[in-house]
């Protein structure tokens, strides 16, 4: 079987890419998509640890299901916010949403 560290490395790279997207993308929808990538990386880790360390207890499976539910909630509220902001400001560029700054 594939060593556990391979899964951890793939998840780490995916997480770092998602982090870069969250910091550097301008579009709010793209930032949300990067957050989804990061959540996926965490889920890979949870399931890999379940399979290799505790296959007799469904700990990792249960928590990755909760992460899934959380991701769905986050996507729904986040995209509703994006649509609401777009209606208000005619823009979804994160740099231009700065009315709290001045």
């Amino acid at each position: 079987m594939v060593p556990l560290s391979w899964y951890l490395i793939v998840a780490a790279i995916l997480f770092a890419m998602g982090l870069y997207g969250v910091i550097a993308r301008r579009n709010a929808v793209a930032i949300l998509m990067s957050v989804e990538l990061m959540l996926n990386a965490v889920n890979i880790n949870l399931i890999a640890f379940w399979r290799y360390l505790t296959p007799d207890r469904p700990v990792g499976l249960a928590w990755s299901l909760f992460v899934l539910a959380l991701a769905a909630a986050e996507a729904a509220v986040g995209l509703a916010l994006v649509i609401s902001v777009y209606r208000e400001r005619d823009s979804v560029i994160a740099d231009e949403l700065d009315s709290l700054k001045y």
Binding site: V2, G18, I23, V29, I47, A73, A80, Y86
Partner: protein
């Protein structure tokens, strides 16, 4: 050995699609690549013998969240011309920060490598009986409603989903309905 090659192919697909999501100028193409990346992650779940989670990934991520993202892109698309830069002015700093985070994580994984090679952790039970893997879905279902295990997080998750549902409707509700604009 065949599994190793399959793993490399699936994870390379996942990572390339993930990079397209992060870097593509065209937001719609990024959303399609996001679906590809979710599909690759589902493949990784299948390789990890978590069939239920792979099915849940297909249904929830590809079936629901990606469609939601695409809807949001189409409703806000007019301003996202493909000619403008996808990154803000802190992209160099962001790259440094995420590379640092990656380096720290990889350092921990590599430090732990000798332990795994010696069989002390990580490969504790690589070859468990198939019945245990098949029984894990039954175990998962029982654990989610077991008072001593996950019933509280389970109920809190359902309340959270209800709150998110109502909240999304309230937030996205137009202040003026279309017929008032006449």
């Amino acid at each position: 050995m065949a599994q190793n090659i399959l793993f490399i192919v699936v994870s390379a697909f996942t990572l390339i699609m993930g990079w397209i999501v992060v870097s593509n100028r065209n937001l719609f193409h990024a959303a399609l690549a996001l679906m590809g990346s979710f599909l690759g992650v589902a493949g990784l779940y299948v390789l990890l013998e978590a069939g239920f989670l792979a099915a849940a990934q297909l249904l929830i991520y590809i079936g629901a969240i990606s469609i939601l993202v695409i809807f949001a892109i189409m409703m806000t698309r007019r301003l996202m011309q493909t000619t403008e830069t996808p990154f803000n002015n802190q992209w160099i700093l962001g790259g440094v920060v995420s590379l640092l985070a990656l380096a720290v994580t990889l350092f921990v994984i590599v430090r732990y490598w000798p332990l795994e090679a010696a069989g002390r952790v990580g490969s504790l039970r690589p070859d468990v009986p198939g019945a245990m893997i098949e029984g894990s879905v039954v175990q998962l279902g029982a654990a989610l409603v077991d008072v001593n295990q996950y019933v509280l997080p389970f109920e809190v998750a359902s309340v959270l989903l209800l709150a998110a549902l109502i909240g999304a409707i309230v937030v996205a509700w137009p202040e003026r309905l279309p017929k008032d604009r006449e």
